[in-house]
Amino acid sequence: MTALLSGLRIIELASDRAAYAGKLMGDLGADVIVVEAPGGHASRQFGPFVDDRPDADTCLWWWHYNTSKRSLVLDLGSEDGRDAFRQLARSADVVLEGEDPGVLAGLGVDHVHIRADRPELIWVSVTPNGRRSPELHEPATDLTMLAAGGLVWNCGYDDHGLPPIRPSGGHAHHTASAFAVMGALTAVVHRDLTGVGQHVDVSMIAATNVTTEVSSVDWLYRGATNQRQTGRHASEHKTMGIQVQTGDGGYCSNPLGLTTAGNYQTVIDWLRELGLEDAFGEFFFLPMGVERGGVSLKELGQDVEATEIYRAGREALYLIASKLTTAEFFVQAQQRGIACGAVYAPDEALADAHFRFRDYPVEVEHPELGRSYTYPGLPFTGVQIPTTIRRAPLLGEHTQEILAKLARERASTA
């Protein structure tokens, strides 16, 4: 089997900004060479570490974001290092980097210099503000970009005495990297037809700005400012909660509510099966939900009876949830046709039967440690989608083989 992106060579200058983009393309089969300075890229020290012992080769941040890549150590501060980088870049389909604007130009190894005699090369730059902003160099992190880019405003609690929440995990980087990949592949499709490459300028803050769904559009379209609410969409008007607490102290999300007659019959049956009919004082509302053919969300707050039926339906779900575990409530609700999601921790999701059935978790060999570990795999399935990924490279692991090949190529063209 040929992997989806096999045949594409990506030269990535190690960065925290674009690492996920390189990983995605590497996991999909591209030959990704990650170029690090002597001593290794700073992200090898981000943590966490295997057994909590800091080491450049046991950093789990590095492990995750650099799977399926090869590592080449080059000193761009030396002329030899820059020469090797130029030669390498000219051999690539795509160069991917996240350096601050001006850094590579100062070294004479930016896209302008290198693309000058190789116009088919595609060069992707990922920076906080892109290159059109009056402010090119203001310091920024994931947290400040998500705040400035509008994501944070939407997330948090009904209680606005609590701060708005920035979901952790590096989502300014994820979002920008996703666009870096889309841009790179768009440019490849165009180059395949025309032979012309180009520079792809990715703005992290712009990427976050257009990844806030209704928040941007509601403002652009009708000048509405949505307000954060616990566990559900931020909204111009306060909506009913959608999270129910389960018997084990966890939560499930029930985002669509009970709207159809079938939903109400389902809850009636479910209460009866659990022997809870008598325990639920408002049971009588539920048959009314069946009889009136369900409750449209548009009736809430408008029609008193409909609103009460809907509220009683939610109360019934709260009662049922209190008797079940998170996993039980989630699966049983879904099997009964009610949209529901268990609030799993990511590692709980990774261990869930559905995802194991699909071989989503993959075992990744770490021969240097004599064992394998479970990683999240690819979210795609298909004949050209790899079913395994390779562990991240040790620092400079492939320097010799890559430089030796470069030397042979140089000799053969001399």
Binding site: R166, N209, C340, R358, P379, F380
Partner: protein, 422 residues
């Protein structure tokens, strides 16, 4: 397969040779083909005919921005997600409709859909059928849980995907219920992954001459976003659900302290501050200029991490005294990462970074009129994106697609309308 549709302004030529037979809807699907359309791909939305009320894309209908008009063409989010696309109507459940779709597939490069997992098979339009219409077709399916597995038939929207994949869990404060996400983040990320699959399929087709079928599972994409913490669990046996976690505003790789969202003087005004290292701390301490900040012990990152709750309280007491713009200016001048928690108006109307980018282009919509939408966060030097046309009205391009593209005569098209096939 270049568009010959008239009436279009400047269009990107990056993907102008690509045609997408687009069965997607909502954001998770439409967001994928939106990107491709902005780079010039001809994206043909296939939608239920006008008599099939209530079965259109849920976002299609709405109210005009001034509140005076409503109908199937007035959805604001639909307009945003479907700029630069074409729309045809087609009853996919009729034999004739299926045959017409087959003719469109034969002339397309890719087919995209985000129906529930088994809808395409039920319609008899699974990959084998698509491939029979066009051997080189790239078919990308996007669903919440993927096409196989115990949950494949589960109902799925953003607020199902996000809880199940762990993203909801990772957004919150200790000892509080999950705050989750105030919007469908995974609809966006799912759309980006779907576009990546389409583009990857086209790249592979250019190389091998073969099409393929790629099934995308949105929850799986979400799980993978927790990478380093997931490995901390699978490698070190440290469960993510544990006391004190999540603490989203504070948590970060690499760890930083202080690192959080602090109250400013105004109503519901907040600022984000991140101190990356000891140099940042020295500059912040100078800017704050209060006795507690001059504590020499705090010059060390490990000490700041150990005393982060105390620092957060002190820093919040300081920020609470000042206007958010003043805090931002003061700390930015000091060279430390800082940002106001931007409201929509802040970032859309008053941020020079998004303005310089041209991030909010205005489009012309046939019924809504002129309205701003989201742009694309990448600029390409040779074939940059173009967004000037609003979303298509329902069936706007029936004449072009059925007439010009598929070669039907005007009376044949009229007959299809009369019999409600289109």
């Amino acid at each position: 397969m270049t568009s010959t549709r008239s009436g279009q302004g400047h269009k990107s030529t990056a993907l102008s040779h690509i045609r997408i037979c687009d069965l997607t809807g909502l954001l998770a699907g439409a967001g994928a083909t939106r990107f491709l359309a902005a780079f010039g791909a001809q994206v043909i939305r296939v939608e239920q005919p006008a008599h099939e009320k209530h079965r259109w894309d849920f976002l299609r209908g709405g109210i005009s921005p001034d509140g005076t008009k409503q109908g199937v063409n007035f959805g604001g989010n639909f307009n945003n997600h479907n700029v630069e696309k074409l729309s045809i109507t087609l009853d996919l459940k009729s034999a004739e409709g299926k045959a017409l779709l087959g003719r469109l597939v034969a002339q397309s490069d890719a087919v995209t859909e985000n129906f529930s997992a088994h809808v395409m098979e039920r319609l008899g339009m699974g990959y084998e059928w698509l491939k029979a219409q066009n051997e080189k077709i790239v078919y990308v399916a996007n669903s919440g849980f993927g096409k196989a597995g115990p949950y494949s038939d589960f109902k799925s929207v953003g607020q199902v995907v996000q809880p199940v994949c762990g993203l909801t869990f990772q957004s919150g404060l200790p000892d509080q219920e999950p705050a989750g996400w105030g919007f469908a983040y995974m609809d966006h990320l799912g759309a980006y992954m779907m576009a990546t699959a389409v583009l990857g399929g086209l790249v592979a087709r250019n190389r091998t001459g073969e099409g393929q079928y790629i099934d995308f599972s949105c929850t799986e994409a979400g799980i993978g976003l927790a990478g380093p913490d997931l490995l901390d669990s699978t490698v070190n046996g440290r469960a993510m659900r544990r006391p004190g976690k999540p603490n989203s505003n504070a948590d970060n790789w690499p760890p930083m302290a202080p690192h959080g969202i602090y109250p400013a003087a105004g109503e519901d005004d907040w600022v984000a501050i991140a101190v990356r290292d000891d140099a940042d701390w020295r500059r912040l301490a100078t800017a704050v200029d209060e006795g507690w900040a001059r504590d020499p012990d705090l010059a060390d990152a490990a000490t700041r991490m150990a005393r982060r709750d105390e620092i957060d309280q002190r820093l919040a007491a300081w920020t609470r005294q000042h206007d958010r713009a003043r805090i931002e200016a003061l700390i930015k001048d000091a060279g430390v990462p800082v940002a106001q928690v931007a409201r929509p108006a802040d970032r859309i109307e008053h941020d020079p970074r998004t303005a310089a980018w041209g991030l909010w282009p205005e489009v012309a919509h046939d019924e809504i009129g002129e309205v701003r939408v989201e742009g694309i966060p990448i600029h390409m030097s040779e074939t940059d994106w173009s967004i000037t046309r609003g979303a298509p009205c329902l069936g706007n391009d029936n004449d072009y697609v059925y007439g010009e593209l598929l070669g039907l005569a005007a009376d044949e098209i009229a007959d299809l309308y009369a019999r409600k096939v289109i």
